[in-house]
């Protein structure tokens, strides 16, 4: 097989009247569907799909997600990081199940996109999927747009407003072959500050399809911390396509944690469009079984004096696989670019496979960029040191793997968030051999 199946279109939900979006938006969706169908499926020859397993992209079995059966259980289970939240929205099969906003400052919007498309049309028109999808999945982004239903969210924090507690969003999928299209659009005004956490979860172990997009826009001086906790079932095919546009002296920090999913394709684009813009791109991925993670990134330095720092870490057990292809691109005129890119694999099994393609394309002088990839096993000396203290080998290995990920969390500046994430990682890694 040399290309993905051509047009496995997921049908529209049975009742088209159920589309919650206004007419102007629905018209765009129709155009997106046509574009999806007109766009050829990826092939082996596409650089952005090198090493990818195209077979896995067969969408033919997937169906629109029915209404969830276990609404109450899903709402109760949506506990997130375990602290208070400024706002909490829970979606099950692309339907809003629950919302509360106990600590949202005035003026901050956290609402379903369909609502926003009616009430805040200008915002949605300006920012919704405004960035080109350059890293290979344009076709699937169009499918996302076409089939976007109730699980889109707009977070808008106006100028000079800081949201102290995190905003937590939950996206559940339930039922055999259900497909969901979560979307998180975050628009920050000047000097706005917020932390947003997306939780992607399966209500059961069923096979599912998730095609999600996150788009972030940061005006001058804004600060965004975004965390995705991906916990889809091990039989889920997922796309997570992200673009981040960072303005003058603004900083975006994004941490993508892939704990679940069977076959996951991630694309992350950071565009640093004004001087002083900073983007920190982190990903933490403990893989085992036959899980497959394919991540493509672009650090696009458009303006002068911008900074980006990417650190992706994977542990690979059993027959898991990762692909990483990253590019730092200091564009023409992007003088004094600081761009860093590093991916590190901790190999826990001889049968696991890692492909790393770090890259750099410099179109201007006067830049400081480094990129690289490393791969190695658990250090025998570290393991011996642990065992010499009485810690059994398996547990020592687990501690070392957990440590490998926890030290990445040091890049998260917010102490309370970092601690919660540390606890989450520690509890998750108990299950790794």
């Amino acid at each position: 097989m040399t290309s993905a199946p051509e047009h496995s279109v997921i049908p529209e939900p049975a009742a088209p009247a159920a589309n919650p979006f206004p007419a102007w938006f629905q018209a765009e969706q129709a155009a997106a569907l046509a574009d999806y169908e007109a766009t050829p499926a990826p092939t082996r020859r596409d650089e952005s799909w090198r090493f990818a397993s195209l077979k896995a992209l067969d969408l033919s079995a997937f169906v629109p997600a029915p209404p969830v059966a276990s609404e109450g259980r899903l709402i109760t289970a949506s506990t997130g990081l375990g602290g208070d939240a400024a706002a909490r929205l829970v979606f099950g099969n692309d339907t809003l199940l629950h919302r509360d906003a106990p600590a949202l400052p005035p003026g901050v919007l956290v609402k379903p996109l369909a609502e926003a498309a009616r009430e805040n049309e200008a915002l949605v028109r300006e920012f919704f999927m405004a960035q080109p999808v350059e890293l290979g999945s344009h076709k699937y982004a169009q499918l996302h747009r076409a089939r976007l239903g109730g699980a889109g969210v707009l977070v808008h924090v106006p100028k000079n407003v800081e949201v102290a507690l995190p905003i937590e969003l939950f996206h559940w999928v339930e039922g055999e072959n259900s497909s969901v299209f979560p979307h998180t659009l975050i628009v920050l005004g000047e000097n706005a500050k917020v932390t947003v956490v997306d939780h992607f979860r399966s209500a059961d172990g069923a096979r599912a399809f998730a095609c999600g997009i996150n788009d972030f826009h940061l005006a001058r001086g804004a600060q965004l911390t975004y965390v995705a906790v991906q916990d889809w079932s091990r039989d889920t095919l997922a796309f997570h396509l992200n673009s981040t546009v960072v303005g003058r002296d603004a900083q975006a920090t994004a941490l993508l944690m892939n704990f679940g999913g069977g076959h996951v394709r991630g694309e992350s684009l950071s565009r640093l469009v004004e001087p002083g813009a900073r983007s920190v791109m982190l990903s933490l991925n403990p893989l085992d079984g036959t899980r497959h993670l394919d991540q493509r990134t672009l650090q696009d330095h458009v303006a002068t004096d911008t900074f980006s720092d990417l650190l992706y870490r994977n542990s690979l057990d059993d027959r898991s696989q990762v692909i990483f292809a990253g590019l730092i691109r200091p564009g023409v005129g992007a003088a004094r670019t600081d761009g860093y890119q590093k991916m590190e694999n901790l190999m826990l099994s001889e049968d696991a496979v890692a492909h790393a393609m770090p890259g750099l394309e410099i179109l201007t002088d006067d830049v400081r960029c480094t990129h690289g990839a490393t791969s190695g096993g658990v250090s025998a000396d570290e393991l011996f040191y642990m065992q010499a203290r009485g810690i059994p080998e398996n547990q020592g290995r687990r501690l070392i793997v957990a440590g490998f990920f926890r030290s990445l969390l040091d890049r998260i500046e917010n102490d309370s968030l970092r601690e919660k994430l540390g606890a989450l990682v520690a509890s998750r890694l108990e299950v790794i051999r």
Partner: protein
């Protein structure tokens, strides 16, 4: 009751390092080993602890009468009561001192029993205070970015927390400033007891002014060639190891 090393031979690859080593450390005593660089002191320590790089080709080590070598895994030997303070402690990124020691203490509890966190921290802080280790170290990664002296102090902290039966200290004094040497020695002395034996590997007689040994052994080329009391260390300091070799050859 003793740690009894009997005619031990061990190799790395096909190169023999320990060549018939005999040594007995009764409970309650402190023995020191001195010897040239490369004579096999660290090898002895690591062989006993179960380092996978070394092959034991003969002899035995009995911990209170039970062969260490029937315990395959290093962690089993540690839980049986053997502790090794490393000459070069490993750095473990992302694993905090508190969690590391906690895992080690937890591993000594019976299956299903959970360590009581408040007791654990009370104990840890008390021992850190005694060794003048700042409490901020609990949340630092094991040995990462520690100074040489801080690493050694942390080894002693681990020893104090794990309360082993026999402690092997491999050059714990190297890298310590004079104050730290006193603090660490006090820590070791506080642990001396009729129920515990120590094997202290060192190059410097000065350590033995603080931790006064019952016996001093000299190791040459994988064997103990001379044994004496604490004054032997002074004599070595004055005359050097060549004297031992000649002396030993003369009496052989």
């Amino acid at each position: 009751m003793s740690l009894s090393i009997q005619n031990l031979t061990a190799s790395i690859g096909d190169q023999p390092i320990l060549k018939g080593l005999n040594l007995e450390i009764p409970k309650g005593e402190v023995h020191a080993i001195m010897g040239k660089n490369g004579s096999g002191k660290s090898t002895l320590a690591k062989v006993m602890a179960g380092h996978p790089d070394y092959t034991v080709t003969g002899g035995d080590v009995l911990l209170d009468g039970e062969s260490l070598f029937t315990l395959e895994e290093p962690d089993q030997r540690a839980r049986a009561g053997l502790f090794l303070a490393f000459q070069y402690p490993m750095e473990i990124p992302g694993v905090t001192i508190a969690n590391f020691i906690r895992a080690a203490v937890q591993a000594r509890l019976p299956e299903g029993e959970e360590l009581e966190a408040t007791d654990y921290y009370a104990n840890l802080y008390a021992k850190m205070d005694a060794l003048k280790i700042a409490r901020t170290f609990t949340s630092r990664s094991v040995n990462e970015g520690f100074s040489g002296g801080e690493k050694k102090r942390c080894e002693i902290l681990q020893m104090a927390m794990l309360e082993p039966k026999y402690c092997v200290l491999d050059e714990t004094d190297s890298g310590l400033d004079i104050d730290a040497l006193k603090i660490v020695s006090e820590g070791v002395n506080a642990m001396r007891s009729p129920d515990r034996g120590f094997l202290v590997i060192t190059h410097y007689q000065r350590l033995l002014d603080y931790i006064v040994p019952d016996k001093v052994h000299v190791m040459v080329d994988g064997r103990i060639v001379m044994t004496g009391d604490k004054d032997l260390a002074l004599e070595l300091e004055a005359k050097g190891y060549d004297w031992v070799t000649e002396d030993q050859l003369a009496t052989a």
